[in-house]
């Protein structure tokens, strides 16, 4: 049995048939070949599968693909505009905010969600918001530096 859904992924409208038990992460990776989102824990606590659903950060390993019906889904693959990287991606590169890179897609998507709701987070707000994204390589200091640089560049900056 499959469920018909209509959804938008990275700006593209899609009609798709998904399995009832298929997670959004599985659908993105296996059916759409969007492999930037990673599974780390499978229980929604490590954050490496974070994608944006209607602009909010969601653990795609916990959401069913069928629940994407009528939603707007954005993954790491949908951030860059052609060759132009998203400012968050650029900031991560500039601050070297990754080591092995496995958590990075999720970390960037969570940062994206944070900044869209709060363009100038304090360090405490950033720590709190990103506490659900685990980096075992321990690159938190550089991620926080990347967020700080983005907050300073934000047009609402003072």
């Amino acid at each position: 049995m499959k469920i018909e859904i209509h959804t938008v992924v990275n700006g593209r409208e899609l009609d798709a048939a998904v399995k009832p038990n298929q997670t959004l992460l599985e659908w993105l990776r296996d059916d759409l070949q969007l492999r930037g989102s990673k599974e780390g824990c499978g229980v929604g606590v490590c954050g490496s599968c974070t994608v944006l659903v209607d602009g909010r950060a969601v653990s795609s390993c916990l959401m069913l693909a069928s629940n994407a019906e009528g939603k707007d889904v954005r993954t790491i693959e949908g951030l860059a505009q052609g060759d132009e990287l998203d400012p968050v991606q650029r900031a991560f590169l500039e601050q070297q905010a990754f080591q092995c890179g496995y958590c990075t897609s999720g970390m960037i998507m969570a940062t994206k969600a944070l900044l869209s709701s709060n363009p100038q987070p304090t360090e405490d707000e950033a720590r709190d918001y990103l506490s659900g994204n685990i980096c075992r390589c321990g690159t938190y200091k550089e991620v926080l530096a990347a967020i700080k640089s983005l907050a300073e560049k934000s047009p609402e900056g003072t």
Partner: protein, 657 residues
Amino acid sequence: LIAVDYEPLAAVFDPAQAMKPGAPILHTESARSETRLDRAQFRFEKNSNVLSVYHAEQGDVAVGFKAADEIFEDVYSSQKIQHGHIEPHAALAYWEPGGKLVIYTSTQNPSSIRAQLAELFDLPQSKVRVIVPYVGGGYGGKVHPRLEPLTAALARQAHRPVQWVLTREEVFLTAHCHASVVKIKTGVTRDGTIVARQVEGIYDTGAYALTGPSTTKNGGEVAGGPYRIAHQDLTTYCVYTNTPPTGPYRGFGVPQVCWAYESQMDDIARRLGIDPLALRLKNLVQEGDMFVTGDKLVSVGIADCLKGAAEAVGWKGKEEQRSREPNGKARGKGLAVMIKTTMTPSNSAALVRLNADGSAVLLTSSVEIGQGTQTSLAQIVAQELGISPERVSVTFPDTDVTPFDQSTSSSRTVFTMGGAARQAAEQVRRQLLEIGANVLEADVEDLELVEGNMQVKGAPEKKKSISQLFQARYGAAVGSMAASYDNQTSGGVDPRTGKGKASAFFFLSACAAEVEVDTETGKVTIERVVSAVDAGKAVNPRQCHMQNEGSMIMSLGSALFEEMVFDNGQPINSTFLEYMPPSMEDHPRRFESVLVETPHPEGPFGAKGVGEAALGPVEPAIGNAVANALGGLRLRDLPLRPDRVVAGLRLVNGESV
């Protein structure tokens, strides 16, 4: 219908129990252990749960203890920890029609995977091809073959490519860090000289051998710490228990003993009324010392590491031991140092190819696992060839194509593979210089390679680009020049004496921590942590700092809360819901890495390794900070959970626990 009647065998879960007479014996035949293990270096036991023993002596501890004014005898323990690489183990295998096995896998060790698959499937190694793309973290957890043999067997049965990705719960069963029980007895004279030390360490290797013997040996070699001690007696046991298998974990057997000797060091300082910093500086090993293993120590920047860490944390001497009222929130600072060996002997080969357009390729089997190997190796080759690092491409391991490497572990890549890459590049450089000498009509000694050009020293207008040199040599700017180098470090220890050349180089580091302890709840908050590592020469300082930061974050987790919990040998917290690695909320607000550079004569440009160096002293530095915050309250079991802190405080206050 088949009726199955199971008869449970007796099991043993505690390594100390497993060593006692009458304990159920797990294995009756001697361990074959890993192919990569150099068996000649180990003392294996038979008919016992003790798989192997490391033992080394120096002087006579009986004499040493007799000369001591004070003797300290304590038992420390550490827990089983998960590597926690966020990328789970994953492999994809297929068989070519000619009977060749091809496997893509997330491993730190392509050569060992190839050797073991060849052995298991009875193939020559040339019929096994191991390809390793970017690896999503390992920290030692991806050194052994795990899912590769089964993936290959399934692919053979299915006649199809088979991919297998482990679930997190399965990852928890594949490997973890050796838990330990370390008994340490130290004799000191009143002036703070350590005169004798006896250590007996038990490492719980789980149900299978794997690299348990080398982890245990590694811990044993340095169990006395980075100190000059005339009389030492060091023994470590690798012991089987009915628990999941262990594996190499960042630090490789050293944090376990470091936790013991550095915690005890602060107890000694307190009893003798000496500043812990001064006590350490008084006893530290120095350049040229003969270590207990028989190694002559070179590149010994440990005093600078310790002083650097102490200065960065604002260490104020004896005042830091001042007893505080254990009410409300108590603050304290702590220090610790560490020494560690690297895998010895070992072997890395590299091939450098210079292209006619002035770009170069480094063929290497080193794995890029987040530590920045691709960058640091490119820098080393670029430096030698006088081109920019962007012009050097570094391969990923493919055992059909790239030269042999022992393993991407033991923080050995920059030293050993970097050394191979440098030597190979140097040979290419020499070929190029000879061409240049002809073309520019100059002596080789008068030429230099700068920014992709060869020029005459002092007369930079006389220069040719690399392309022009190819043109001159071959009549066209085509082709390539190549050279390879096989870098073998020699040494190893004699299992009868525990001595020899234990390490191609030694890791030396220090840590300083400042904590706040909530005496009501027992929660420890790390306010500040500083790691200082002697990198020899930091090939890429930024990446060295990031390795140190990673080590600090990892070990503050195991210092405070990370712990695998078992029920009759079964892990019961095998998800990241119940076992949380440190998150951004645990990240100390003040967090600093210090690099000391004491060049090593055998390292490329003086470089040693840094990947694991910062890890060992973090736990005892935190433990010492907690003790200093709480008037000397010593907690000897890791992790320093709130309930343990509260129980310790109650004991001190004479309350029931």
